[in-house]
């Protein structure tokens, strides 16, 4: 059952206790998947990404520096790959043409050969990005382009097929009005589709847009929200806005054309760790330290759609981008056996009915009993 149901989970969430949870929002159920059968804190999930071949495989980056492969079709972990080198947890995970790209906190970006059968092989490519990396993100349009950023580590865009120097290196903004250097803390990065632009959200509650195509290396647009570090960010479908979340559980939609706040979403009580929007529907999935997965509707009207309590602290999530959320394959699977049974029943009934049709008394009998039944409550004569 769990294996069959694994395909129809809408959201996959990774927790601090090492459990991968598949959540089906139609049935409001969550199923736990662990590699070892028991939750283990050493396997705390720190990064999730879709594997090759549509949405049939998930790559799970754990705190013990292993990347595990999970199959949604079969509902079990298939293999793992140990990725040594550097220190800290995974900050980014991506897959390109059969190779695996990983980035750890100490700033080592490695490209591995994607075969889980071999023992730890040497990485195909190794880059040093700088210490204190908070996020590495892959450009969905150009899978070999990767952006990294972190604490006191400015945004850099790397071409993994090109040279060892970054393609774009962002410059810090000018000194503020007290002539003090503005600190850098890029917490999340997103590539804007149909352009070369990137958006980052910082721990100093700023949202910045960079344009590598323009001559200036400084941000093209800067907007601020709130007073707490922004921890997660996602692009909205179609519209030119991003949704950011901060450590207080506040979610806000910020317009990137003007840099103003469009609206907020209520409900979260803890720090937002993962945010993702559906590519076509106006739905946003958010997870955080308050152990609840929430799905909000972003427009008409803005509000909470689903809320599921998952008992561990949630670290990251993956929202399935498919369109048919309401399809339940289990019902058609159950229907055929039932149909055969009912077909037999009907066959027997028809035979009996054919026998009974010429007898009118027997058909009157049930009618009479019905009349009697109707008369019983009110009548004195039975």
């Amino acid at each position: 059952m769990a294996a069959v149901g694994a395909r129809w989970n809408h959201v996959w969430v990774g927790t601090e206790t090492g459990i991968l949870k598949g959540v089906n929002l139609q049935r409001k159920q969550a199923t736990n998947f662990t590699a070892a059968g028991q939750p283990r804190r050493e396997e705390a999930v720190s990064a999730l990404c879709w594997g090759a071949g549509g949405e049939t495989q998930i790559l799970v980056g754990c705190a013990d520096r292993t990347v595990r492969y999970f199959s949604t079709e079969e509902g079990r972990f298939q293999g793992q790959q140990h990725c040594p080198g550097g220190e800290g947890t995974f900050r980014g995970l991506a897959q390109v043409h059969g190779t695996l790209i990983t980035c750890v906190e100490s700033g080592i970006v490695q490209v591995w050969n994607d075969n889980d059968k071999e023992a730890s092989s040497d990485p195909l490519l190794e880059l040093s990005v700088g210490p204190g990396v908070c996020r590495m993100r892959q450009d969905p349009a150009h899978p070999h382009m990767v952006a990294t950023g972190g604490k006191e580590n400015a945004l850099k865009v790397w071409d993994l097929q090109g040279s060892k120097e970054p393609v774009f290196r962002a410059k810090n903004v000018r000194n503020d009005w007290l002539d003090l250097r503005v600190p850098i803390w890029d917490q999340d990065i997103q590539f804007l589709p149909e352009s070369q632009k990137l958006v980052t959200c910082t721990g100093y509650h700023q949202v910045r847009v960079y344009d590598p195509a323009s001559p200036q290396r400084r941000p093209v647009l800067e907007a601020t929200y709130g007073e707490y570090p922004l921890t997660a960010m996602t692009l909205t479908p179609g519209a030119n806005s991003v949704i950011v979340g901060n450590t207080h559980g506040q979610l806000a939609e910020i317009d990137l054309r003007q840099g103003r706040l469009l609206g907020c979403l209520k409900g979260l009580a803890g720090s937002v760790r993962g945010l993702q929007c559906h590519p076509s529907k106006p739905l946003l999935a958010s997870c955080g330290l308050d152990r609840v997965l929430r799905v909000h509707r972003i427009r008409n009207p803005r509000g909470l759609e689903h809320k599921v309590y998952l008992k561990s602290q949630l670290n990251c999530l993956l929202l399935s981008g498919r369109d048919n959320w309401e399809d339940e394959p289990q019902e058609p699977k159950k229907a055929p056996p039932e149909d055969t049974e009912t077909d037999e029943l009907w066959a027997s009934l028809e035979a009996a009915a054919k026998r009974k049709l010429p007898d009118l008394e027997q058909t009157q009998g049930p009618l009479q009993t019905r009349r009697r039944k109707k008369q019983r409550p009110g009548s004195t004569s039975s």
Partner: protein, 349 residues
């Protein structure tokens, strides 16, 4: 003339009183009273226009009269119903249906899905491996540092002293305007396990920050109703050096469990029952009541208690993951009044 006027006035009033459901407009009342000056009882109450209520009478005295009469009648009816019910119960004797339980806000609490099931393995694993695991595995014993906000006044200082007698192995230090972020690494190097900071405002303590030290969560509470030892009536003598027992009441949800474990990790594991002292953290409707008692069993079922020690009420404002860092720390739970306090029957702890 004056007497006649008074008599007619009183008769007007009496006439009004006699009418059972008298909600008449004023003119007809006067007219009828005029007709009944001879003392004959007026006919039954006239038909009122439907939808008439007492509040529409413009004359305050008459309106008040009508209302008091209506209220008396309601009370009479209520009493009559009660008596009837009581008679029926007595008549039935043992077969009487059980008394209905009155609805209270605690009874009507909204179903909370985060309430911890004792058989839940995932939550059990989460708790077995969280930041308090070293305390609950008896690997570390608590050592508490109690301090205040800068330049505390008398009440806060005395509260700190009294708290240090309640919590064993605790030390009070004067906060010399030092930043908490600088105090914390020093505490860790000196093997402190918890840091308590009592915040003071306008000469009264009003906040409590409880930070579990190596890398543990920080809870920020609002403190109210602080009573020092001398303000407690009928209290016992000062507490002794024995390690008290702990009672944690009503911490049912997952958040409640985290907070309850924080309080439990303040006290050493081995309570000395000879001391007969107990510290209670009772959670009711998201308020945590702290009491410190000395008990004595007079018989199998009878206990006598003496309240010692300070008494205060706490309300959780936020639970932050990691040691104290209010600006850049990640919060596990933040109290948001406009979102969380909309329902009177919903509680979080």
């Amino acid at each position: 003339m004056a007497k006649a006027g008074d008599k007619s006035g009183s008769r007007v009033k009496k006439g009004l009183k006699r009418k059972a459901t008298a909600e008449e407009p004023q003119e007809t009342a006067v007219a009828e009273d005029g007709a009944t000056e001879s003392g004959v009882q007026p006919p039954k109450a006239a038909a009122f226009p439907p939808g008439f209520s007492i509040s529409e009478i413009k004359n305050k005295q008459r309106r008040h009269l009508m209302f008091t009469r209506w209220k008396q009648q309601q009370r009479k009816e209520k009493l009559a119903i009660k008596k009837k019910l009581k008679k029926e119960r007595e008549a039935l004797g043992d077969k009487a249906p059980p008394k209905p339980i009155p609805k209270t806000i605690d009874n009507q609490r909204v179903y909370d899905e985060t309430v911890v099931d004792p058989n839940d393995e995932e939550v059990a694993y989460d708790e077995a491996t969280d930041e308090f695991a070293s305390y609950f595995n008896r690997q570390t014993s608590p050592k508490i540092l109690i301090t205040t906000s800068d330049r505390p006044h008398g009440r806060t200082v005395r509260l700190c002293e009294q708290l240090s007698t309640v919590i064993p192995n605790s030390h009070v230090y004067y906060r010399r305007g030092l930043a908490l972020k600088k105090i914390i690494p020093q505490c860790i190097s000196r093997d402190f396990t918890d840091l308590i900071v009592i915040n003071e405002d306008r000469k009264t303590p009003n906040g409590l920050i409880l930070s579990h030290l190596p890398n543990g969560p920080t809870a920020h509470f609002k403190m109210s109703s602080v009573r020092l030892r001398k303000e407690i009536k009928r209290r016992g003598k000062d507490p002794t050096e024995h390690i008290p027992e702990i009672i944690l009441n009503n911490f049912t949800t997952r958040l409640g469990h985290s907070v309850g474990r924080m309080f439990a990790s303040l006290f050493p594991h081995n309570p000395q029952f000879i001391g007969r002292q107990v510290a209670t953290f009772h959670n009711q409707r998201d308020y945590i009541f702290f009491r410190f008692h000395r008990y004595i069993f007079r018989s199998e079922k009878k206990v006598g208690i003496q309240e010692l020690g300070p008494r205060f009420t706490l309300k959780l404002r936020s639970l932050q993951k990691g040691t104290f860092d209010s600006k850049y720390g990640e919060y596990e739970w933040v109290h948001k009044p406009r979102e969380m306090d909309t329902n009177r029957r919903k509680f979080h702890l």
